[in-house]
Amino acid sequence: MAEKRNKEFYPDYLVEISIVIFIAVELTVVLALVYPQLIGRQIDFSTPYRPLPEWYFLWLYQAVRYFPGRWAFIGTVLLPFIAAISLIMIPYIDRGKRGRTRAILVGVSLLLAFVVLTLIPYISP
């Protein structure tokens, strides 16, 4: 092939996609076999229990600790709501001069808050 052909979606790209699909399925199968889901205990209404949420909700679990008393709704409802809205509105934050800088500021702070708040319960339970 002398002339340089443009890559096309099919079949050039689709072959690479099949590799990704293969890796994704294999990864899940291996993880499922190595770390199987365990059966929990039956519900007990009388023993105190500390339920940890899924790792992707740990940030919320940690955030509600910081808002005592009647300010609790800030951590439980308001902050997640603001986070969701600012994630959705990123294309509109990135408008005009310095738009990208503002968008980066919002994006990085969202990510940083997520990572830091998720790590805190792991480090100091």
């Binding site: 443009n6 205990r41 339920p51 940890l52 994630l87 294309p91």
Partner: protein
């Protein structure tokens, strides 16, 4: 195989509208980071398939839920595997969606005309998180029950109307079988349907606007 496909295609006409999509050139500067979105879709499809399998054995009732999971694990061939598979694909789905979001952000692919696609993607992430939360209750064990007790109580902290939101989510005052069936319905009907619609919109817009290559 090809003949059968041609027979269907001559009547149904799937090839022609997708020809442009399949033969479109891929822009310069596309690397393997662009596969993250595709990987998320693969995990989503894996979740749908394993979820369909699980729903055959799972019983969403207060008395039966826990026992049906135990039965699934112990008596059903591959039962434990499919359950772990479902759980792990869910975790990997969230990871890949987050990475995909970061990738899109770095490549500025949310800029016009792709704003709406960014919004659809963000809503997909939120629905995925909601599916994770509702799915957490379904095993109806100690961890599931108390996590839901705490999670739903968060709604009650909203000033003035918190109590009513709490009753709406729980289907009553406490986390009971009513909550279980609510979460089950959300987890297997509402959220997947919304997810399919959002993903259809997502892909439709990619088809229309093309992939943004390069930084």
């Amino acid at each position: 195989m090809g003949k059968i496909f041609d027979w269907i295609d001559s009547r149904f006409g799937v090839k022609q509208p997708h020809k442009k999509f399949l033969e479109r050139p891929v822009p310069e500067g596309v690397n393997y980071a662009f596969c993250l979105g595709g990987a998320s879709f693969v995990f989503f499809l894996m979740l749908v398939c394993s979820g369909l399998m699980l729903s055959i054995y799972y019983v969403p009732s207060e008395q039966e839920a826990f026992m049906s999971i135990v039965r699934l694990n112990n008596d059903v061939t591959l039962g434990a595997f499919i359950r772990s598979f479902h759980k792990w694909s869910a975790n990997l789905l969230i990871i890949t969606i987050i990475l995909h979001t970061i990738r899109v952000f770095i490549y500025k692919a949310y800029r016009p005309p792709r704003e709406l696609n960014w919004i659809a993607g963000s809503l997909t992430l939120i629905i995925a998180l909601g599916s994770g939360f509702t799915g957490y209750l379904l095993p109806w064990d100690q961890k599931a029950y108390w996590a839901t007790e705490v999670g739903t109580s968060m709604a009650s902290t909203v000033p003035f109307i918190g109590k009513y939101i709490l009753y709406l989510i729980r289907g009553g005052e406490d986390v009971t079988g009513a909550t279980l069936i609510r979460f089950y319905s959300m987890h297997i009907l509402y959220f997947p349907t919304i997810m399919f619609l959002l993903l259809w919109a997502h892909f439709h817009m990619i088809k229309k606007q093309g992939v943004k290559g390069g930084l």
